[in-house]
Symmetry: D2
Subunit: 368 residues, 4 copies
């Protein structure tokens, strides 16, 4: 591999313990890889040039560990991180693997399950804080239903709100300073998921007691992103970043770089089930390499004179056209009184086929 | 048809001029039905027992009508509504049919197109207000892209916000008292749509200057709904309500009735292309009939003793389990200190297969 | 439950050991139910009125069983079947669970894996034959790819053909008299599956040395069907039959009954993860009950005078219209010479909205 | 543009009259471009280096043209083709635009519509033959249903078979020598389409009287292909070839070139609705350019030593492993008697992440 695409700490590439540690279990098949111990994963991440490691509570500490075991595990993990120059920017909680969450965690019908889920999350927040994490992710993978007969969806959302409000207060009370990242899931593993898109969470967040905890970039607050790839309309594939749809991955990288995103580039993906341990490294290296290739393409795109000329022309205003801007009585009067010439407006060219072909040329290296 | 399912004004069933007037044009085929003049549609709606009619500006007034034509058309339409006992609860604006909107209306790159789109909407708001509408729908069918090269998505959302803020101010300035309903579209007609789900709009609304204009029910503010049916993963089919997925339609009707929804039951669907004018009536009658059948099923479901007994059991709290509720230091201490017995919690039955089969029994009439 | 919908042997309802024995493992969660021993499943099937049980080799015999273990297990299973009046109409082979099949079985790049897969299948055929099965199912769940770089798809199809030809010869040589049912999978568990639809298999079958082994009904040879339910565009949900889309399930049942299908009604589905053992029974009972409800609806549909009258009218020929039928020179001359009146033809009504509403009425019991 | 990717006749690039002539009509919007007369399209195709032009009957000859008009139009079109060095390799028939086909053509319930559809097709075959076409495409865009209540699907397939058999006989009787290409459609424009995948047609073809007319490549007979691009799970987008999924387009081009496909590279796509006439040319040029870029990448891929070395290793046989091959009694005995060592087999590496990353490197030009 050329030096040009070598990952460095300033690229802020991170992987989850669960991504390199993924053993390839699926609904129809058993694990294909041996357990990859957390401290070994950290060593590998250091070796291949990643900046950080993220984790669920139970990725590191077994669900039935004693307090003494827990403390020893954490101590050794912190040492491994320090030895390998790897930071822990994000933590999260596993509210989906154990059968107790088979009907949801925060939205379960059983108040005891809901209470247990909150307790487990508070402890995971303690763990993350101890490791230095400043972002806490919540993924409601079991917050859904197979039959709407079991609970009304508005009741589920109320319960979710109660829980997240609680967690925010706890973060404040302990001075953890977490930002909470709420993660959607459109398809699996329940028949239907309550918060199936990021948009759903964007609607949910302002109803919280502390809505300042999360937003997507356009509103100024993106602070964490999961990168992977996927063929649309399939199960959750979590393929190596950029390996399925190069163009969509390109526009995502370009957006992050254009807006000056400073958070982790976190790869929430995993190696094919066909891979062995060496292949897991190939997978992780590939995620970072493709990101850097696409980042370089984004710079080429921004520097391309023909592209920039087309974009400038597209956004020109016709002389005499009244502006919209902020509403005012006089502005509205001017706008309502203006005679638009639809045929004339239609003459303006929109050379998007050309613009898109230039993008393809840059992506394939046919034009640099 | 039995009397039991006869639509009455208090059911608040409404149809758009564009639904009964749909001529069956599609990407591969020409219109199959003659023009259905607006005043005739109103007469038909009165005849079949609908409560109201909704419209886009150009469903009633051609885009190139003179002011005099416009006034005459509106006068005659108001008379037709009055004669047939049909109200106009909702109005909207067509920002998608004319080629001028081929690259968007409020989000177009061309400032002149954006200005024209706002002007056209202000006039459509005047029209709706004159007809008595209190809900104004915005559907951004062209607010999308074929290639992300043409504009950054955050720029598009900024433009959309500017426009909607402007419309809200105008509604206030004129004393129209509109509620704005923002309508998403996941699939067509652009390759990608910026606001593709209701969740996206729920996230967008709080960033407006007047966020009080719209919300979904769970937050207490649903005031308009479009009813139709669809096979998932297909183009926008707009089938007769309840005709594709009976169970999903049932849970939707049950939700609206359970929460005491008082707005229009608006059917945004259209007859199969195979139908003639009589078939269009069959279609409209079927929408209302199936709604009333399902409303009746919802009452059966709520009254079913076995269902209610299962639901009660599902929501019982175990003795000694600490509540979550609102965060407090002492509450958190109690919660953190509680020893949960996961195995014991798992013993609680969740008889959802039975609950769902009871639902199927009620839906099929196998059990009443 | 009423007697009317009680399952009886003549309904030929069957379940797989893997369906009742499903432990609810999924990509994000552990098993939620205890092991359900095969002989206990057979007892349960007898109790709830199922006719038969189907199985993969390893549902009954562990992959590493000794020959002596294998023989004892089979002997005891045959006794359980006999004791409970349960037959074994179908057998299949598990070529997907063990990691050895992580890159396919019959289509693997490794010739040794391909040889092992064939050996394992021959032994599964021996097992099925010993239990009396006459249908052998092949599901190529691992016959796919994550990257097309790993093998050309035409090479994969060639290998699949070689294997299936081999199995057919073996069935003939041993006198097993199997029919092979080739089962498609559109979505999981590989990123792409080579034979993703039944149509793909219908195209594949005629290229076999013994193409007489399989066809779909229209060609006269459907002999096995898997029944379950699913929300389109999601992962493989395998929901209780009829629980998601009542109408689609109805038309499937109606088709099977109309054409006089005499094979097993095999439910390849499983209980929700939320269920315990009693819930697994609820699930199995519900599959059969809903089938019988829908079979009863199909009889109502066929007996409905308005439906039958519409169908008769739809298929009437206009006087003077030349027939198509089998090609002949004189027939073609007549057809080419005929002057069709398109406007006149268009006047014929196609009252499909009415026809479909009558179907909804019957399905909901609003009209019997 | 560099010379390297200039299209030449030997590349056999073809476009339909309907692709360059597409006026951008969609379900929600009017035409955005003026009519592009067929003879002008042919001139444009000559100018940009395409080899051929394909057409539906009514792309060239209006549905209500008199015989004299028809003959004049055809004469002038042949001259335009000759003048511009453009051939007509394929013809087809429009059985979807006119309302008469609103419930299907060959599968319509109305025998008169079926007869008219066959007549129209015979005449389209005459037209194609006169223009030199040797491939005749059938696309059953209206052969589907909104409600299964209207006809049984097996009846629809019977009617389709009858029609296609008739067309084959006519082709033979007139000595046209056509190959028929049967084109599937998964989504639009009916709610459900009978032949929704190529697999369905592969199953259908062997039931014809002349099954030799069509097959996909693996069986040795691919003779026509439509090239475009699409985001999965959306409406039929027909985007510029290679513009959405570069990698999938690459593997398609690689397959066609690897197997020595000699037929037309036909682009069944159309320009964005945002384009004017110049943009339509950009679109057409882009289709061909991207094909040639990807063809060049395919050659790089085949010549890459690391890729070839991985592929060789993947396909090696372990010593002592019995072959499968053709069935024989002794071979089966050897196979059944062989002791496979699953753990040993599992040690073989399958470095697909590496293989796929090399593919991404080549596609992006990061490695040549």
């Amino acid at each position: 591999m050329t030096d040009q695409y070598r990952p460095k700490p300033e690229h802020k590439f991170t992987f989850g313990l669960w991504t390199l540690g993924n053993r390839g279990r699926d609904p129809f098949g058993d694990a294909v890889r041996a357990t990859f111990p957390p401290n070994d994963i950290v060593a590998t991440l250091g070796e291949i040039g990643a900046w950080g490691v993220n984790l669920h509570d139970n990725d590191l500490v077994p669900i039935d560990a004693t307090p003494a075991d827990r403390d020893r595990i954490v101590r050794e993990f912190k040492k491994a991180c320090a030895d390998n120059g790897v930071v822990v920017p994000m933590a999260t909680v596993n509210l989906f693997y154990h059968p107790i969450f088979r009907d949801g965690a925060f939205t379960s019908n059983d108040p005891e399950v809901r209470a247990y889920a909150v307790q487990k999350t508070l402890r995971a927040m303690d763990l993350g804080a101890e490791l230095g994490a400043k972002v806490f992710v919540l993924w409601g993978g079991r917050e859904g239903a197979e039959t709407d007969a079991c609970r009304r969806p508005d009741e589920a959302v109320k319960r979710l709100r109660e829980a997240v409000n609680y967690l925010c207060e706890y973060s404040n009370a302990r001075g953890y300073g977490y930002k909470f990242a709420l993660e959607a899931k459109p398809n699996e593993p329940r028949a239907d998921i309550y918060m199936s898109t990021t948009g759903h969470y964007l609607g949910f967040i302002p109803t919280l007691d502390h809505p300042e905890i999360a937003q997507a970039w356009e509103a100024g607050k993106l602070f964490h992103i999961d990168l992977n790839d996927q063929m649309p309309g399939r199960f959750d594939q979590d393929l190596r970043f950029g390996s399925s749809n190069i163009k969509a991955s390109f526009f995502l990288v370009k957006f992050l770089e254009d807006v000056g995103y400073t958070g982790s580039r976190h790869f929430d993906a995993h190696a094919y089930r066909t891979e062995d341990m060496e292949g897991v490294k190939d997978f992780a290296r590939g995620c970072m390499r493709t990101y850097l290739i696409l980042k370089d393409k984004a710079a080429q795109w921004n520097a391309n004179p023909e592209i920039q000329s087309i974009l400038r022309d597209l956004n020109k205003t016709a002389p005499g056209c009244p502006p919209v801007g902020k509403y005012s009585q006089s502005g509205a009067a001017a706008l309502l009184g203006h005679a638009f010439n639809r045929d004339k407006i239609l003459e303006k060219r929109l050379p998007y086929e050309r613009l898109d072909q230039l993008t393809i040329d840059i992506l394939t290296g046919a034009q640099c």
